[in-house]
C-alpha cells in the first residue's frame, strides 16, 4: 500500500450522520438531561391528558373533606375547599407549563430577534433598540405586569403577555452580546463574500451562535416566570380562580402553613422539580449545541 505522505491520517467516522442525528447523538450522552427531558415530556403528557389521568375534578369541592393530609384517597391531601391537591397539580401543569414556557418563548423570540438585529446593524437601530430595552428594564417588572393586567384585565393569557414583556430586554441584551462578537467571525464575512443576504446571515449564521447562552437563560427564566405568575397571584392578579395554577395554589395555600402544609408543599415540589428539569435539560442542550465542546 502506498499513500501520499502529505495526506494526514484522518480517522474516518464510521457512521454517517444527519445534522439532527448528530445532535441527537451528542445529546444522548447527556444522561441527566435525558432524564430531565423525559420527565418534562411526561409532564406534558400529563398536562394534556389530565382529564383522563386525574382522580378527581380539580374544581369540585368536597366540604366534607377540607384540608386533609395525604391519604390513600387523596395522595396529596385536599385544600380548603376539599379539592384534591394531586388532581389540581396535574391540571395545574397545563397552566404552569403554558405560563412558564409560552411567556418565555414569546419574550425570548421577540428579544432575541431584536438583539440580533440590533447587534448586526449597529448604529442608530442599535441605539434605538437598546434604549427601549433600557426603559423596559428600568421599569420594575412586577409593576409592568400589574399594569398589563390592570389594563388588559386578569386572566392567564394576560399573565403570559405580562411576563413575556419583561423577558424581552434581557434576551435582547444576551443575543446582542453574542451577535456583536459573532458578526466579526470570519465565517460571517465569508457568507457576505458569497453574497448572502443580511436577513439570511442573521438567521443562519448569527442566531444559532446566540442560542447556547439564550438556552441557559431561557431555562432559568421559565422558573422565574412561573414564580412571577405566583407573585402575581400573591398580590391577587394571577390566574383566574379556580384555575389550579401552581403559583396560585402556593399563594392561596400560604395561609395554611402550619395548619395544612400539604396545600403548599406539593405545588412547591411540583414547581421545584419542573424548574430543575428545565435547567438540567437546558444545560444538556447547551452542551450538545456548543461547537467548542464538540471539538473535544
Amino acid at each position: 500500500m502506498s499513500t501520499a505522505t502529505s495526506a494526514p491520517a484522518i480517522v474516518v467516522a464510521s457512521d454517517m450522520r444527519t445534522p439532527l442525528g448528530e445532535f441527537w447523538r451528542r445529546f444522548r450522552r447527556q444522561k441527566v438531561a435525558l432524564v430531565a427531558g423525559a420527565f418534562l415530556l411526561a409532564l406534558l403528557l400529563v398536562a394534556i391528558f389530565a382529564p383522563w389521568i386525574a382522580p378527581y375534578d380539580p374544581a369540585t369541592p368536597d366540604y366534607m373533606a377540607i384540608l386533609q393530609g395525604p391519604t390513600a384517597a387523596h395522595w396529596a391531601g385536599t385544600d380548603a375547599y376539599g379539592r384534591d391537591v394531586f388532581s389540581r397539580i396535574l391540571f395545574g401543569a397545563r397552566i404552569s407549563l403554558a405560563v412558564g414556557f409560552l411567556s418565555v418563548s414569546l419574550g425570548g423570540l421577540v428579544g432575541v430577534s431584536l438583539g440580533v438585529i440590533s447587534g448586526y446593524y449597529g448604529g442608530l437601530i442599535d441605539s434605538l433598540i437598546m434604549r427601549v430595552c433600557d426603559v423596559l428594564l428600568a421599569f420594575p417588572g412586577i409593576l409592568l405586569a400589574i399594569g398589563v393586567i390592570a389594563i388588559l384585565g386578569p386572566g392567564i393569557d394576560n399573565v403570559i403577555y405580562a411576563v413575556a414583556v419583561f423577558s424581552v430586554p434581557i434576551f435582547a441584551r444576551l443575543a446582542r452580546g453574542s451577535t456583536l462578537s459573532l458578526k466579526r467571525a470570519v465565517y460571517v464575512d465569508a457568507a457576505r463574500a458569497i453574497g448572502v443576504k443580511d436577513r439570511v446571515i442573521m438567521m443562519r449564521h448569527l442566531l444559532p451562535g446566540a442560542l447556547p447562552n439564550v438556552i441557559v437563560y431561557f431555562s432559568m427564566r421559565i422558573g422565574t416566570s412561573i414564580l412571577t405568575a405566583a407573585s402575581l397571584s400573591f398580590i391577587g392578579l394571577g390566574a383566574q380562580p379556580p384555575s389550579p395554577e401552581w403559583g396560585a395554589m402556593l399563594a392561596d395555600g400560604r395561609s395554611y402553613i402550619g395548619v395544612a402544609d400539604n396545600v403548599t408543599l406539593f405545588p412547591g415540589i411540583a414547581i421545584f422539580v419542573t424548574v430543575l428539569a428545565f435547567n438540567l435539560l437546558g444545560d444538556g442542550l447547551r452542551d450538545a449545541l456548543d461547537p467548542k465542546l464538540r471539538m473535544a
Binding site: A59, P61, Y63, Y81, I146, G236, L237, P241, S255, V259
Partner: protein, 484 residues
Amino acid sequence: KTLVVGVPDNLTGLDPTNVNDTLSQTAMRTVYQGLFGFDQDMKIVPVLAESFEANDTATEFTIRLRKGVKFHDGTDFNANAVKISLERLANPDNKLSRRSLISMLDRVDVIDDSTVKIVLKTPFGALINTLAHPAIVIMSPAALEKYGKDIARNPVGTGAFKFKRWAADTFEVEKNEHYWKAGWPKVDGVTLRSVPENGSRFAMLQAGEVQYVTLFPPELVPVAEKLPNLLVVKRPSIVGWYAAMNTMKKPFTDPRVRQALNYAVDKAAYCKVVESGFCTPLQSPMPDLLGFFEPQKPYTFDVAKAKALLAEAGYPNGFETEIFALNNTNQIRAMQFLQQQLAQVGVKLTVTPLESGVAAQRIWGVQKPEDATVQMQLTGWSSSTGDADWGLRPLLWGKGFPPALFNVAYYKNDKVDADFEGALETADPAKRGAFYADAQKRIWEDAPWIFLGASQLLTAQSKNLSGVYMLPDRGFVLEGAEFK
C-alpha cells in the same frame, strides 16, 4: 411597657375628619376623642359629652360636656372647642372628606362653657350615632390655630395617648400623663405596626414582637388556640357580606331569579368554607348588631326550590354570568365558593378578582345606570355610624346609584326609599324602628343581593394583655390596655 399592635394596613392620615379607613380612624382614637363613642356592643356611650337632649323634630340637640378635660397642649376642652371642631368639619371650604357625615349641620351654639346646642338644617334622627362616629372628633382650637392645614401631621386631642411619630409603617403614641380618666392609661404607649401578610402577623405574635393582632385570619385559629400563651377573641361584627345582583340587567330583573340564587347558596357552608366557621348567616339585609335590626325568614338551602324558581322565570338550564370583587384572598375564596354553589343550579359563574382601582372604575366610572357592566359584585359593608341608616341607605336607596352612592344592585323600590327618608326625619326611636322594619322586610323579599353572612371579628393577643377590645365595625379600643 408599650403595647405593640399588628395591623394589616398602613394608616392613610392623622386627621380623622379627612380619612376614610377604619384603621386610621381607630388609630386616631388613641389621640382624639369625640363627644360620644361605642362600647363593645355598639351601644352609644358618652365620652366627652355627659348627656344630651333632642327636640321632637330632630333638628336641635343640646349637649352637656364633661368638665376638667385638657388637650395635650395644655389648653382646656370646652364648648368653644366643640363649636370650632364641628363647624370646621361642616364647612365645605375645608374640603374634608368626612363632611358628608354632618353636612346637615347649621351651626353650633355655645350655651355656656360646658353646654352646646347643635342646630341642624334638616331633621336628622341619627345624629347622636353620627356624633359617635370616629371621624367626628374634638380638636384643640389652639393647635388648629397654630398648625392650620398641618394639623393633619400634628394631631392634638384629649385622648389617653399623645402623638409621637408616624413614619413609613409605624405609628407611635405615648402615655398622656394628664388624662382625665384617673389612673389611665396603664401602658406607656402604643405602637401600631403595619404587617400586611397574615402569616407574618401571626408569627410576630408568636415571637412576642406584637401583643395584639387584629383581623386574625380565621384559618389560623385552630393553630393559635393550641398555643398556651395566646388568646383568640371572637367578636360579632357589623360587617355584612353579600353579592349584589344588578337588578336592571337580565336575568336579574326577575325577583324569582334573585330568590333562586339565594336558595341555591348554602349559607352555613359559606361560613364554614370562607370564614372557617367564624361567621353567622345574614338574617336581614343588615347585621344583627345594628340598631333596628329585624330578623327575616331565612332562605334555606334548597337546590330543588332554586331550580324550580329558575325554571319558572324561564331559565331551566341556568345561565352564565360574572361576579367580581377585590383581589384579596378572602374575597377570591368567597367568589369561588359562590361559583361552586351556583353551578349546582346550572348558573355558570365567571370569577373576576379585580385590582382595587379597576374595581372602583367598574363601579364608579358609570354615569348612567344602563351603562353599568356590573352583573354581580361581592362586597362587604359596615355601617361606620353603627346605625341602620348608614347600614342600608348607601346600598339600597333608589337615589344612591353609583356614582352618587354605593347601590351597585341598582335596586329601586319606592316604598323602601320612602322608609329611608321617613326614618331620617324623626329622632323618635319607635318611629324609626317601624320604618326600618318595613324596609328590611321588603328588601329581603326583593332579594337584590345574595345574602351571605356577617363575619366575626377575630383578634389574637398575648394572654397577659387585657383591656383591649374590638368594635363591631372593625375599629378597636386600646385605651384600657394593661399588662399583667
